[in-house]
């Protein structure tokens, strides 16, 4: 225990003297084209503090990191864990309540949010994105995708929240009995399984595959930022799994007040206006004005397991995936 106290003491010494907030997040959030830079300057303009981002590859690695660091963590806020992981994180007691009153906020009804630890900051639906110059008639269902002669890129469900989203999607569609076969069908069409979302999306844009696992909102990026309709998301008739991205205050922070202020800021109209056009996800507030491109996005039906069910089965589902695709 003495070593722990000493380490905490050192950690505290590092943050003394400056009003600093350290936010752990995933790497595409902090990249030059991601929301990081704008969120930082907007929050710093109102908080009289310095906001530091520390990034991990993807959402799952993020949680692993916080878990590994435990009481020694430098994080005041963890941003970018998704709803599939929140029960696991809750069980590990890594976070503390934020004290936000949900009744005051115009939150999107789809979210039905009332959690005391986690603050949703954006959401989206997983979808396979394709290049209209390669694919004339995109798949309209997972079944069709898995039986067609195409090449696919997706992310490792052990490291990436997007890959994990696909795992939940496959489980929701095929159940324990049929999912192995479905994974194997996917494996035959897989170019490679990347660790994070950025790698696979980069490869896709270089023409390495016909489809890449991403979000229904990804085409908005190409429409708004690149002024092209070339990339589109395939809508599946079976329905899509949603991802709600959340932020939470570390249980071990010494900046709980500032951290809560930051979470409030994430829910503000200002931040909600920034996120859709930098992180390319849907805002959690309903009173945000979005570029016209967002009206042209697919609005799929939402399916999937609850966070509690996911927490119970996640390890078993990962083993199933690992076994199926390593054959």
């Amino acid at each position: 225990m003495r070593t722990l106290t000493l380490a905490t003491g050192l950690a505290l010494a590092g943050t003394l003297g400056a009003n600093e907030l350290t936010v752990y997040t995933y790497s595409s959030f902090t990249s030059d084209w991601g929301p990081g830079p704008e969120i930082k300057s907007a929050f710093e303009a109102q908080c009289d503090c310095t906001l530091n981002f520390v990034s991990s590859d993807d959402g799952v690695s993020l949680l692993n990191r916080v878990r590994l660091e435990g009481v020694n963590t430098q994080a005041d806020v963890v941003l970018g864990v998704d709803d599939a992981l929140i029960e696991e994180a809750r069980a590990l007691e890594l976070f503390q309540p934020h004290g936000i009153d949900w009744s005051d906020l115009p939150l999107a009804a789809d979210l039905a949010w009332s959690d005391d630890l986690y603050v949703p900051f954006d959401y989206g639906y997983f979808a396979f994105v394709y290049d209209t110059e390669n694919i004339d008639s995109p798949a309209t269902s997972m079944e069709e995708l898995l039986s067609s002669d195409v090449s696919i890129l997706y992310q490792d469900p052990r490291t990436s929240t997007v890959g994990q989203g696909l795992m939940h999607w496959m489980q929701a569609l095929y159940g324990d009995n049929g999912v192995t076969e479905a994974w194997q069908a996917l494996a035959e069409r897989t170019v490679t399984v990347t660790q994070g979302w950025s790698e696979s999306y980069g490869m896709f844009q270089e023409g390495e595959a016909d489809y890449v696992l991403s979000y229904t909102t990804s085409p908005a990026y190409h429409m708004v930022a690149e002024d092209t309709d070339r990339y589109q998301a395939a809508t599946f008739e079976e329905g899509h799994v949603a991802q709600i991205e959340v932020a939470a205050i570390s249980a071990f922070t010494d900046q709980a007040e500032l951290a809560a202020e930051f979470l409030d800021f994430l829910l503000s109209r200002e931040a909600q206006q920034i996120l859709p056009v930098t992180n390319w996800m849907l805002p959690v507030r309903t009173d945000v004005e979005l570029p016209a491109a967002f009206d042209r996005l697919a609005t799929p039906e939402r399916i999937g397991h609850s966070p509690t069910e996911i927490h119970e089965h996640r390890q078993a589902w990962i083993r199933t995936w690992r076994n199926a695709v390593s054959q």
Partner: protein, 527 residues
């Protein structure tokens, strides 16, 4: 400042004894702690249930299978090239080729990976000619990379064997009028047969322990080795129990293989190429075949690396992450410098004990301490130490200490191997004179011992530097995104398909490896 004032005897002896004992303790302690963790003494106990998992059987099978294929290709392809290099007197550029082969063998894997992706990847320039079904990711890429890295090793050993056939054997076979085939069977085959099991075994072991290549070119769970699975269990799923079981598997198989193959004796691959006064006449047909093999080998070993230059410079210097590259490069150089220096100090410390303790039993202990890290895969040692210290150490902050220390231990056997014969010669030749002169302490080191060791020290240090510079596995366990080294930056860049930037970073890494190896080779004539 000590030069004019001889130190008291006891003081001098204590100094080098303490140094030696400290080095010995470092070498052994790392292993002992790693083993304590493997036995479940610290974070997590081995989870044996995975031994019944079909996934485990598949990766074990794949690990062995890819190692077997890589070994076969590497050795079979090396044979005709080595013969041509050794026996064809008029082959141009042999010396340069052999130097390049040495570089290929110690080439940091990430340089090669970037090169292979540029040539054979989905948008590689050769890919359109490879047919529709071509896919670099998976067994294809793993085999190409392993043959690239290991064929040059087999080649150097075999060239040396062919060159070591004495003139008289050739002359006698010419006088007897032996046909080409008879000569091969009676003169050449006996000379190379002896080293083949050792060469093949060593290559098999290297491919069995392959990490970077498989992680980058494996293309997902279908092509995974145990080494990669250990990394994934720890870093992806944070499952120490599974990582421990896999580490045991890796240790037992790799250790067993090493003990088996080390029976075949020591291989000479760092030895300089020999000049040969008398070479046999070759049949025009086999000579032509040999030359063809030589040209193909040059192409195979040059193209994936040469291709980096146009790829890196294609779009000029714009949009390159110079601001990221600089600190990462400096960090990598700093780590490699520290690790190489530490490895050299450890080896010298061990050798101090070796010089001091003349009893065979004591010497065996020193040898064991310095060399046993060859048998224990770096990944196993890393995982063990990582888990052992996990409850007390924040690795994200202190991982760099482990990266330096473990890279020093990984390089230590090579450094020790390079230094020991030189130290042995020194004692054999000068021990008595040194005693008569009464030279000891700093003057002894400064005036006599270090100058004598210098060529070997340079060579050993440079080798350790290149090994540490290319490190991927140790950093994989202890490292973090926020303080990447050059190989991991290349991995991230190539992974997100920023090939130009990856190529540039690879060229930087290559340049530093070349400089270090230039030091290594340039002083060979002193050895």
């Amino acid at each position: 400042m000590f030069a004019g004032r001889p130190l008291p005897t006891a003081n001098r002896q204590w100094g080098s004894l303490i140094w030696g004992l400290a080095a010995l303790a470092c070498m052994l302690l790392a292993t002992v702690l790693a083993f304590l963790a493997l036995f479940g003494w610290s974070e997590g106990r081995p989870d044996l249930s995975i031994l019944h998992d079909a996934y485990f059987h598949r990766i074990l099978r794949f690990t062995l299978w890819q190692a077997l294929l890589s070994t076969l290709f590497a050795v079979l392809l090396a044979l005709p090239v080595a013969r041509a290099v050794a026996l064809d007197a008029r082959l141009p550029g042999k010396a340069l080729f052999l130097r390049w082969a040495l570089l290929c063998f110690v080439m940091p894997s990430l340089i090669l990976i970037t090169g292979l992706v540029s040539v054979f990847g989905r948008s590689g320039w050769l890919t359109p000619w490879l047919g529709a079904g071509w896919n670099l990711y998976g067994l294809n890429g793993i085999l190409i990379a392993h043959v690239f890295l290991n064929m040059p090793f087999a080649l150097r050993v075999l060239v040396f064997q062919w060159q070591s056939i004495p003139d008289t054997a050739w002359k006698v076979s010419a006088q007897l009028g032996l046909s080409g085939w008879q000569r091969f069977r009676l003169v050449e085959w006996p000379a190379i047969r002896g080293v083949l099991p050792g060469v093949a075994g060593f290559i098999f072991l290297l491919c069995f322990n392959s990490f970077a290549i498989v992680l980058a070119l494996g293309g997902g769970p279908r092509a995974t080795t145990i080494e990669v699975a250990i990394y994934q269990a720890l870093k992806f799923a944070f499952n120490p129990a599974e990582a421990l079981t896999l580490a045991w598997t890796q240790l037992l198989v790799a250790g067993g293989l090493f003990l088996l193959f080390s029976q075949f004796g020591r291989l000479r691959w760092l030895a300089p190429p020999q000049g040969q006064p008398w070479l046999p006449a070759l049949h025009p047909f086999t000579r032509a075949l040999g030359r063809l093999a030589y040209v193909l080998a040059i192409l195979f070993l040059a193209v994936p690396i040469a291709t980096l230059i146009p790829v890196a410079l294609f779009r000029g210097g714009q949009g390159l992450p110079w601001s990221t590259l600089m600190p990462v490069t400096l960090r990598s150089l700093g780590f490699a410098f520290a690790a190489a220096t530490l490895a050299t100090l450890l080896a010298l410390g061990g050798l101090e004990l070796w010089r001091r303790w003349t009893a065979p039993g004591a010497r065996r202990w020193v040898e064991f301490a310095a060399l046993h890290h060859l048998v224990i895969p770096g990944m196993v040692l890393s995982v063990g130490l990582y888990l052992f210290f996990l409850p007390w150490v924040n690795w994200i902050r202190w991982g760099w200490v482990a990266v330096i220390g473990l890279n020093a231990l990984v390089a230590l056997p090579f450094v020790y191997h390079q230094l020991k014969p030189r130290v042995f010669d020194f004692d054999a030749n000068y021990r008595r004179q040194v005693a008569d002169l009464g030279l000891r302490g700093w003057p002894f080191w400064h005036r006599l011992y270090l100058p004598w060791l210098l060529p070997a020290l340079r060579r050993a240090w440079a080798l350790a530097f290149v090994i540490a510079l290319g490190d991927f596995a140790v950093f994989g366990i202890f490292g973090h995104d926020s303080w990447r080294t050059l190989p991991w930056l290349i991995y991230a860049l190539a992974g997100s398909y920023r090939l130009q930037a990856a190529a540039l970073a690879s060229l930087l890494l290559l340049a530093f490896a070349l400089i270090a190896l230039w030091v290594l080779e340039d002083h060979r004539h002193h050895a």
